[in-house]
Each structure stands twice: as structure tokens, then as C-alpha cells.
Assembly symmetry: D2
Amino acid sequence: MSEQIGVGILGATGTVGQRFIQLLETHPLFYVKAIGASSRSAGKEYHEAVNWKMTTLIPDSVAKMIVHPCEPEYFEGCKVIFSGLDSSVAGETELAFLEAEFAVFSNAKNHRMNPLVPLIVPIVNPEHFDLIKQQRVEFKKSKGFLVTNANCSTTGLVSALKPLQDAFGPLSKVVVTTMQAISGAGYPGVPSLDILGNVVPYISGEEEKMEEEAAKILGTFSTNHIVDAPLAVSASCNRVAVIDGHTESVFVEFARKPAPSLEEITKVFENYVSEAQKLNCYSAPNKCVVVCKQPDRPQPRLDALLEDGHGVLVGGIRKCNIFDFKFTLLVHNTILGAAGSAIMNAEIAVKKGLV
Amino acid sequence: MSEQIGVGILGATGTVGQRFIQLLETHPLFYVKAIGASSRSAGKEYHEAVNWKMTTLIPDSVAKMIVHPCEPEYFEGCKVIFSGLDSSVAGETELAFLEAEFAVFSNAKNHRMNPLVPLIVPIVNPEHFDLIKQQRVEFKKSKGFLVTNANCSTTGLVSALKPLQDAFGPLSKVVVTTMQAISGAGYPGVPSLDILGNVVPYISGEEEKMEEEAAKILGTFSTNHIVDAPLAVSASCNRVAVIDGHTESVFVEFARKPAPSLEEITKVFENYVSEAQKLNCYSAPNKCVVVCKQPDRPQPRLDALLEDGHGVLVGGIRKCNIFDFKFTLLVHNTILGAAGSAIMNAEIAVKKGLV
Amino acid sequence: MSEQIGVGILGATGTVGQRFIQLLETHPLFYVKAIGASSRSAGKEYHEAVNWKMTTLIPDSVAKMIVHPCEPEYFEGCKVIFSGLDSSVAGETELAFLEAEFAVFSNAKNHRMNPLVPLIVPIVNPEHFDLIKQQRVEFKKSKGFLVTNANCSTTGLVSALKPLQDAFGPLSKVVVTTMQAISGAGYPGVPSLDILGNVVPYISGEEEKMEEEAAKILGTFSTNHIVDAPLAVSASCNRVAVIDGHTESVFVEFARKPAPSLEEITKVFENYVSEAQKLNCYSAPNKCVVVCKQPDRPQPRLDALLEDGHGVLVGGIRKCNIFDFKFTLLVHNTILGAAGSAIMNAEIAVKKGLV
Amino acid sequence: MSEQIGVGILGATGTVGQRFIQLLETHPLFYVKAIGASSRSAGKEYHEAVNWKMTTLIPDSVAKMIVHPCEPEYFEGCKVIFSGLDSSVAGETELAFLEAEFAVFSNAKNHRMNPLVPLIVPIVNPEHFDLIKQQRVEFKKSKGFLVTNANCSTTGLVSALKPLQDAFGPLSKVVVTTMQAISGAGYPGVPSLDILGNVVPYISGEEEKMEEEAAKILGTFSTNHIVDAPLAVSASCNRVAVIDGHTESVFVEFARKPAPSLEEITKVFENYVSEAQKLNCYSAPNKCVVVCKQPDRPQPRLDALLEDGHGVLVGGIRKCNIFDFKFTLLVHNTILGAAGSAIMNAEIAVKKGLV
């Protein structure tokens, strides 16, 4: 992999920004060239500006970088921009970078449902990169583009549904209850008095995101737009006392009758190979879907980092009294569910010649 | 309430047994007259035999009682037997007490699905006490009988479903994902390495219990037997890092079309009055179903002890994309979900003249 | 207890303020007459202004009260003012209420070390109320006065040391390591990402408070001022994942040689009777110091609410290789360690005719 | 590093045994050749016998190995034996392997205080390997020997004290309060009901171990025995809700007066180089003692895996009112505090030509 590509990170001091910097520390294709954050941090060295909460040290190459304002002029020479910005500012800031012809990979929710913006989970629907051509036409861009990755809970869900849809045709109904990790709320995020020894049965806007995003991601690119998949999703989202890793109880019905058997489903999960793998992307997992054999797995504390957090784990696949079957899935919410998806999306874009 | 009734407690040193003793400390109708446990404890004073884990002190009246073997001869004079026995021994032991003409109120799973044994959640179906007449005929008993209360998760579920069924007719489909407290597994129970910062997506036998028991409890007594309610339940059961209080995400469909509105449902929850309340049972809650107004409630740490743990809390009542509506419920798993149900069942039995 | 006394609560929406309101709900001597909070809350009804986090409901008598600004004019008719204000505003606000001739009982740190302000732990040194005479002279007040209670960790420590000092003379050296509950930091307080599965070995300013306050509280009133006790305290303060209850590992050396035996120490703890008890204060615990017999107690989750949170628990009393002996203590940090102390101090002041 | 050395692991299914297998997966010098466990596991393949609780997968090379009884005949060809046995069986079993001329590296407590057995923390006192000569004489062995590593809490403590002793001469007094992780108690170990939201102020036998072992480890080898260091240690041991990493609040007094300054102490920590590092041992940390600059560090969740868990972290170095200074330390209790020490000890033994 010849020369490394310089990347810029927006929202570098936040939880997702820190994960970007951690994941890129030893990345063979990308290196952190510039970092941006709010005006409160701008002008400081990164190690002074950040309240670093990763379990590894701040990479030496980034610790003494000056934090810039999140404006395109400070990111010259960055071919790729990763945005870990908060949704309160991501909307306009990302458009400014797109306007300035950067390739922007955003983790924010703002542009996800825009019909011109691909919403891509790298192990699910990288074919949606085909939408960029149309995006550039409409936004009058030659090099720049904007791609988003999905909400963390949605990411886990569609990563498990995609192999099934590929093999057995459309899913008609999906009921899902999430048990989400506190890292998904950033820092300071969830007050400890709210979650220690507790469950909070509400995450603002989360159910709507899961219900909307899934149909788009599982949809089909057709000529110049995405056609939503015909599935209905109903979600119930809960916060639990877990650091990293969203667990989801999923109940699924297929459109086709009879539904496939549990053996067929299991085999399809295990044999699924994503385009990210076929393209030999650096961050692509060895297995996109790891099927757990023990009935009490996956568990977030033990399993979230398998496949370096870039796959999903599925367990407890069993018959359902009401739908066709049910299972538990686990996704690392700040790796595949956030920064890791954005990075793998950028790897795919490079492979596809878009960057 | 004239004279107090002496009661015996089987499995007195276990988690449920301790809760029986705590709840009965100031009970106006019952007093602890004899306690039984395994041969390891028998012969010791209670305070020496028990590894007491309640947050109140061992009642003085029980601390120095001698623990007996769980055999009828040691429980003479007890008009009521509460069984907090483990299922490995509950089956035979409880039958022995029934055989000896005791009124047995069991928390164990062993006899719950026996067609001759009422499975009663006191704020849901005390009319099933009518089955005792038939039970006595078949078992050839004059005074003795055996009643069970439900699994803790089932208890929460049916307590929320009953008011709906009463008001709007049968429910057809219920999907439920539980997030269950560690106290449900007793002591030592769940190893801390399994649950701290974790979710365990499996509780042995729990989903089956929820799926079977609900239809019986919501069923109708007819002449001499219980006719199951015609609802299908599909459950996914998880353990979370909570001390007391099972949280359940519930998705519900009514048989009738169109379904009632959210306003109608909310009103029915709030206005529900159980027979336990009408009978003025001491342990009956002021409200059987408390509807939480804030979208992020109920929460187990904050709300499990409302109504002294004898009601259920319901919150986040909202439309569902697939079924009619969804909501979150919370039940105190060792009070209404275990010892508290058994005690309230006994109060009802006294009111009904069965004891 | 004839007529109830109306009290005002400053900082009523905060964690300590909520505890004041909860503890006063059924208080026979005091009732909440007026409540104050920041300008953000002023003008709202309490239930709208507060993010209520107690495990009991907002008392009906307070829920619809209008929250006032923390200015004396809004608290007319309140004979007692309880301040749960944050230290950023407590200093001046409390002086304004003193100036307006209110009897102010403050939980804030601002005036604790002022030589004219009694720093009183009600089960330790209510004789320091004698300082009020001098305070009134210097502040030119006739009815008003200002009393503070101690830091939560200090409160636990001195409650255990006082009986020893009374019985065996001065302590010379005390080394203490605390493991403090998250409720001590208020709400939102400690971010969950900082404390779940973690220990934070630092609480800003806490060690200094323990080291300074202990000597004043254990000191002697002499004519018109407090003479500090001659003990050296060295503290190490840690935050742990506990909701309520500070645990402290204490190592103690007496001035006198030989030191008392463990039996003598235990007896002194058990027999200690505080002035609050002798005065028959409503909130006074039955036992100020509860000695735990099991070697693994006290534990915050199980024991913090014994004596309704108004006493301290001591356990593991044993010989020390370096000092005379060591033990573990537990104090409920938001009851005896905060609001409960202020209320009991006010009860004492009433008994002493100061209010 | 030419040919790999085959090692045997006793107690391979336990928590420490699992850590041995995980740490050896990619070890350049050692490979797992045989594994032993109790008769309950013997005869099974490892993946069937073990309840694997590491966050990485069972190494392929071990998963299908047959578990043997812990008897020397099954370990032929193993030049090194690592014992993670429980103390209930470690005593005799380890002697049997010594008798059979194996080089035994034990994590068990049984032989630690035997004057003929070196008690070695690899980054502290590898010079105590000199005692093996005398051990072989007394036990009449030519190749075999027995070395133990220290208790996990002791390991952290002496790792911080050794650099100070080397630089400034003997320490006279050390008071230490530990906050220990649950993994130290193995699996199932600490029941979740005991530790979730709680502190347990007692760990059986732990304080005694810390007080005895420290003096031996910090002692001096002289001719044919170890002379204890002249320090007094007083420990208070607590269990907290942390997965991995023991935190210790330490108060220290030097024999020499005046004591060194905080700057001198900090410098000595940072510049300390252990013999394990000088010998270029594979597992030796880059830094044995990492000094944290932020006042609220080290923290177990964030920092326990720095230096791959083979160093200690020290923070909050500050003056003490009673002793010379105090600080917080953190040690990974199942790496440097257990299996990691045993492995590094074996690496040192190889370098010294003892294996």
C-alpha cells in the first residue's frame, strides 16, 4: 500500500473523535494530518484539549498536534475528512467541507436520510457508493462527496439482516429491543446516577432512527437513487450499564413462505462475505457475522472486541412463536457502530477510486 | 383483624425465604411460626444458618428460631405454608405438605402448569381460587390445597395485560424482551464476572415459562378447570446488572380491530382495580398499574419499590409499526414477582374462607 | 410536639435539596413552607423544575409549590432555613439569610472553617452550639445565626472517633482511605463512563476538608471559641461505583499509652450516647455507632440505611501493625452526611431554645 | 530465540489458567504442550472442559488438547510447569512436580513463605533466584525447582516500593488500603449480589499476605537465605466492582531523615529499570512504573492494560500529614499480579540458565 493518505478529523476531542484517532494509529492507508474541534479547544495541543478516555495512550503522532476550528481552510491536503461532530453542528459544517470538495465520511445523523446521501454500513451496502455520481451532479462537485454511516444500533441490526435478505429474499417484519452501552451517549453522556444498577428505557430519537435507516440501507440502488427495502421495523431502545457493545433482541419474519430453517439461517450467517472483504479492505473483519454456539452468548463485555469490533455477533438463533425466528445480536457501538464504519467506508471509497 | 395466623416458611434461608420473613415482619394477619430449610441448616438458629442479604435487619422474632427440616411434622399449628424452595426439591416437599392438609402457597415452578393447581397472580386472577374445590376432590383433601404464584417475569407481563384484556377483549400476540435483575437468580446466583458491565442474553427455561404461564393466568375458570387465553407470547429473556426489578419491553396486538387508542389504553391501566384491592387485602397496592408520564420511566433503581413493590409500572406507551402498541413495564421481581404474590394470595384465600 | 415550624429550603432542586424534601415529608416538627432554587427554576412549580431522583415520589405537599429565587423576602415566616446550595453561590446567599435574621443550617463548605461558625455533626458535637452567642455578638444578630454541618466523609470519620476520644482521651494520628458513593457528587455529577467498573482515586478538595474539619469538630468550646483537637489526619479519597454510602478504611493511634484493647473500644462504640439522643431529637438514631459482627460488614448497599441513615456503622475492628488499631466505617453520605445532619442540627437548636 | 520450550499448565481451566493460556498464545519462547485440571475435567478436550471467560478466543492450538490429571507422568517433555492451582490442592501437587524434577512456577500461596522457596516479583527481586541453589541442595534436586510469585495486591505494592528502597534506603512504615477487582477471586468467585453497587471490606487472608510477603520480597539474598526487609506493613483490603486491576492507596514513611522530595521520588519511579528489562525478557514492560500526571489517575478501567498489564501505575504522589508521602497505585491483578509474573519469572529463569 504505497503512499499514505492524510485525513482530517472533525470533532476530534469527542468520544467518536477519540476512537477515530485510536483506530487510525496504526492504519496502513490513512494517517491523521489535521484535527478540528470546537472553538473552546481550537489553538490548543490535542493532549491539552482532550479528556482522553480510551484505554490506550494518545498516539504520539497526534498528542502535540494543534486543534483547529472545523473550517475547510485548516484541512488542506487532507483527502478524506472523518466527522465525529455532534449533530448540533454537523449539518452545516459537513456541507461546508463537501462544498470545498472534500470526501466527507460522517458519523452524524443530520444527512443520513437525505436521498442524495449514501447511508452505508461497510459490511452491508457499499454498492450504495454508486449514488455518489448523482450526488456530485446535484451538488455540482467534481471530487468532493458526502457519505454517512448509520446509527450504531441500526448498524448492528442491518448487519445481521443483510445476509438473510441476500439469501432468502425480503424480510417483512422485524421487532427489536436494544440494550445499549453508555459509550453511545458520548462523554460526559449518561450520568452515573442514572445507569448504575439501572435500565433507562428511553433514548431520544433512537427508535425512529432504527426504523427509518434500516429500510434505506437494505434498499437497492437503481439508476440514480435508492429504493427502500419493504420491511417494517419496530424498535424499543434501552440504555444499560455496559461500557461498549449494543445487545439487541431481534424477532424476524420473512416475506417468503415457508421461511428458511434455523440450519439454513445459521449457514447463511456463517458464509456471508461482504464486498468490504472481497475488496481486501484493511479493516474488514475476517467474518462479518460470527455465530455463537453457547446459548448465553454473545455478551458485550466478553465479545464486543471479537473481529476487532468490525463484525457483528449473533447467538441464540431459535424459533419464534409469532414470527419466524428470533436471535440476539451484538455490535461494537463505537467501532463498527461509529468510527470503524466511517473508516472502512473510506477504505472502500479508495478501492473504488472515489478518493 | 382479630387473631394472627401462624405460618411456616420452607426454604427460609434462601433469597425468596428471606423476603418472606422480611415482608411478614410487620404483617397484621400472619406471623412466622416455623421455618424450614435444608439439612445443612436444620437445627441451627436462623441467624446462624442464614447468609442474610436483605437491607433491613433479621426480625428479632425470627433470628433465634430453630430451623427445621422441611417436613410436615415440624410445622404443626401453621395454617399457611409459604414455599420458597428450590425447584430441585419443591415438587415432592410441597406435595407432602398438601398431603398433610396444609394450605400451601408455592413460589416454585414445579406445579405451576398442573391443570389442578391454580397459578395465581393476586392482582390478576384470584378467581382461579375456584379451582381448589376440584383440586381437593381429586387429591382427596378437606382443608389442604396447593396454590402457586407465577414466574417473576410472567407476573409483570400478565399484570399489565389483564386490564387490557378485561377492557378490550383478547390479546392475540405479545412479543416481550426482558431485562431481568440478578436477585431473580438467588444467592450466590449470578457470578459478578458474568454481569458487571454486561448483559447475559439467556436465562435457562425463562422464555418457556413466560410463554406457557401467561395463557393459563389470563385464562378463564370454567366449571372445574382453567381454559387458556388464546394469546401467543414470544419472549426473549436477558439478565442485566440490576439488583431488584425486571424491566420488560412489550409489543402487543389485540384480537379486536380497530385496536383501542393510546388514550383508552392509558385510562384502562390507571382505572384498573383488582379483586385483591376490592377484598381490602393488606398487601394490595393502592394502584395495581402505575402509569409513568416521563418517557424515560419506569426505571428499576428508582421505581421498583413504588407501591411497596406490589404493583407494576408501565411507561412509554406508544404506537408500534407492526403491532398495535408497545410499552415498557417494571415489576419488583422478589416482591410482586415472588414472595409478595404468595403472601397476597394467602391473604385472598383467608378472605375467601379457604384458610 | 405542638405546632409545626415552617422551614425554607435553598437549592431545593439539587440532590441535597431533594433529600431535604424527602426527609421532611413526615417530619413531626418541621414542614416545608418555601423552596428556592436558581433563576432557571424560579417561578415554576416544583415538580416541573426538578429532575427528581429519589426512590420515593415527590411529596404532594411540595409538588405544586412555586420555586422562588433564593432571596430572604420569599422566605418570610420560615423560622429555619436549610441550605443545600452549591458552594459557588452558598457563601453570599447564606450570609444574606443570616443578615435577615434567619436560623440557617447549611450543608455547603463555604463557612465551615470560619471560626465564628459552628461546624456541627449532630451525633458528635452539639455543644458547639454555644458558639452562637459569640457569633451573634460579632454579626450583630438577635435571632439569626448560621450553623454548618460537615463534609460527608468527615461526618462518618468523626462520628466514629468521638466515642473513642470521649472514653480514652485524644487521638494522635488517623490515616483514612475513603471509597465514596456517586451521590456525593450530585446530579448529573459523575459521568457513568468514569465510574462503571472503575475507581477514581481523586475527589477535588475532599482530602483537605477531611483533614481540616475533623480537628475543629472534635475540638472543645472554650469561653467564646473552638479549640481544635490535637489530631493529625491524613486522607486518601476515592470514588467507587456505589449509589449511597461512603465506606472508609481507618487506621488510628491514641495519644495515651498503652492504647485501649479491642474489647474496650468495641464496648465504647456500642455504649456511646450522643446529646442528640439525650435531647430526644426526632431524627436521632437508636444507636449512633452500630458495630457489625461479621468480618465483611458494613457494606454500603446492604447497610447504609440502617438507623435510617442517621448513624454510622463500624466493622472489622482489629489490631494494626503500625498504629493501635484499624476498622471500616460506613456513613450514609446524603443523610447523616448531608441533609440529615442539617435537619438533626435544627432539631437540637429547637430543643436548646435557639430557634 | 531458537527453539520453543514446551510448558505445562496446572489448573488450566481456572481463571489464572485461562490467563496463562491467553498470554502464551503468541509467546516466542514458550508454547503450551500439556494442560492439567481436576478429575472433573480430565479426559475432555479443553474447549469442552473450560468455561472460557477471556475476551479473546481460546487459542486454536489449545482448544482441542486433552485435559490431563495434574500428575507428573502426563507432563513429560514440559521443561516448565506453570501452576494456577487452587490453594486447596496446590501444596502437594506442586511438590510432586518438584520431586519429579520439573521447574515449577507457582501462583499459589502455599509455598510462598517457605524459607527455601523464592518469592519473586519479576520486576522487583529476580536476584532471589540465587536461593534455588540452596533449595536444590535441601530438596536433593538436580534440575527441578519451585518458585512462587506473590499475591496480586502484594505484587503491586512491592513494585512501587522497590525503586524507592533501591534509591533511598529502607522504608519503615507502609499503610495500604486496597480496592480489589473481582477477577482476583476467580470464577464463579464473587456473587454479583455482593458487589454490584457495593464495597466488601474484607478478603479472607489477604491482609496477612500483604503484610508478610512484602518483607520477604523486598529482602536481601545472603549466602543461602533471604533476610527480610525491615518494614512494617499494615493493610486494609476491600473488594470493589471492578473487573481487572487492583487500586491501592499507599502511605509511606522512609527510615532515612529527611525523606526524599516528591520530585526525587517521581524521578526514581520513572527511571527505575528492573533486571527483567536488562535481561531483555519478552514480557518485561517498557516501563516498570508508569507515573500518571493527571491527579485522577491511574484508574483500573482505563489504565490496567497499559504496558500490557506487566507494569504498575502510580499517581497522585503527594505529601502526607503523618508519614512522608502518599500515592495511588494500580496493578493488573491477573497479569503482573498472577499469570504474567509466573511467565516472566520463567523467562528470567531461562535467561539465567536455570531451565
